[in-house]
Symmetry: C2
Subunit: 331 residues, 2 copies
Amino acid sequence: MTIKELAQELNMSTTTVSRVLTGQEKKYRISPKTALRVRDGARKHKFEPNQIARNLRLQETNTIGLIIPDISNPFFANLARTVEIELRRRDKMILLCDTKDETSLEKESLHLLLGRKVDGLLVAPVGKKYDHFIKDSKVPVVLIDRYFKDQTIPFVTTDNYQGAYSATKFLIQKGHQNITCIQGLGHTSVNENRILGYRKAMEDHKISNFIRISGAGYSIQNGYESTRELLQKRNRPTAIFALNNQIALGAMKAVKEAGLHIPGDVSLIAFDEQPYFELLSPALTAIQQPMQDIGKVAVETLFKLMTGETVKNQMLKPNFIERESVKSIES
Amino acid sequence: MTIKELAQELNMSTTTVSRVLTGQEKKYRISPKTALRVRDGARKHKFEPNQIARNLRLQETNTIGLIIPDISNPFFANLARTVEIELRRRDKMILLCDTKDETSLEKESLHLLLGRKVDGLLVAPVGKKYDHFIKDSKVPVVLIDRYFKDQTIPFVTTDNYQGAYSATKFLIQKGHQNITCIQGLGHTSVNENRILGYRKAMEDHKISNFIRISGAGYSIQNGYESTRELLQKRNRPTAIFALNNQIALGAMKAVKEAGLHIPGDVSLIAFDEQPYFELLSPALTAIQQPMQDIGKVAVETLFKLMTGETVKNQMLKPNFIERESVKSIES
DNA sequence: TATATTTGCACAATCGATTGTGCAAATTTT
DNA sequence: AAAATTTGCACAATCGATTGTGCAAATATA
């Protein structure tokens, strides 16, 4: 049923119906009696206004595009959940795009979402090339997790540098020197900052000669394969720093398959925290990101942007959780 | 830029521009020369047609609503990913709703999505009351995972009955009798069928006196609390059958905290498989659902529905993965 | 009673696309 | 050369809402 049909049914103009249903009765002096008739009629016929038509007319869709690299990665799944909750509270919906960490898909997603006239965009970008971001679309964008150093697009992320620094420092203080990092996607700010933190900690403790960075990709498989290679080396590291939860998982699997043990043969720290980490054997020492906060702050920032307020970038503090996956080495 | 502006720029009618850009030049006899001019102009001005306007006019949105109970549950996150991939291949996008397993939110989501005129709906329903599904909306719906026995809405799910039966049978054959089920949401088809399978296996082996069903909710917390209670009982079960991955996680946590061991003190089987299950201590014996297939088949089914084809319900076979969390009991 | 003001609602344009139909101009057929 | 076809494109309606403005009728004021 359309507003026109409803109006005919009630024997009045669409104007009046529309004004009542959008709560503008006072503003346009619709009499209480008429307003009541409209409401009753709408209820009776279960009239639901066509949002597409509203969107076209009002030039807003109440829809936010959410672009993330991998919804099956629990980090992003949790993020998506928080974002969903926050957006629903504000009467917005999510158009979801998963880029599989491929720039081409990200580009495509961006186009599709802009074509659909989303009111705002929340993006955890792949990060490689971002020409497609600069576009002249005036749609507000907030970057999540990953950002671009040389762009002014506002972002919300964890302080990855500090998280990585403290994790590395922790390893060093436990007596480790031969510490290898298994990285995610090399060109992402997240990865760069974690590497930077790792590097700085190594340098600060005069063991920069041990700096080694391995792998590529935020996947279980990368963690697995990189670790396999590492374990075969003559100069096998005494500790591995996995730059996200999936890599850590792959690393554990490889160690287990090699018949070795954590932390006996090799220590492990993971960036990211997951509920099952405490149940692994050994329980995984990890750097926890404030996922809820990231989602919440990102949505808040986006809304500020949409209402024209000025916003500032946010770097939220991570939390170090010590468990059992790091061995203390006597020197 | 709108099609009108582009048409003015090119000094021709919007009709012509539209027809060229939608590839109908031959059908409407637009001369090649004109077509070329249109394409060049569109490219030059980076014209992107307003999808909202198209949607209104064409009465289709190329958008599918995806309603799931919990995107942070890896089962649904994986499902979402498969669905995303399959839909993108077909040039559709996802409007995502997370119901938190609350009927009220499900109802709201349904309304919102119908108001936005989605072309189809993929729903893993909460399951409690489904009046809101029967509505006269002619939008094609396919149920995923959970379905309604007394409704004709097509569904795609795992054969939960069989999965639960074989898991229970496995426990029994390992010598267990005192087997307790920790369930999810009691009113969901998924839960009912798993319970049914469990029950039947117990009955078939003449130990229906041991049938016990505990808990409520597909959450880590439910698994945790239910298990804590179970462990304190005098007649503590020798085996626990956790009806999803989150419950299993909570159960493991409770067992660990109680200072007990799996499978030494109590055996555990989980419905659902997760990548980290093999890395837990002990590695978790589990029933694996064909998640990829579920998503794929669900999308296929929805598209058949949308094109008016007849569809049939699908029950996909689960896969039993034996690991180390079940102890063999000598009798 | 005549005029001014307020009340209550409807007309018609608009958002940006798509499309049935009509009508000249160009071309072909007789 | 006249008639019939074909070619190439534009007019205007349409999708379903929202909204600036206008205009009677009702009421208040002079």
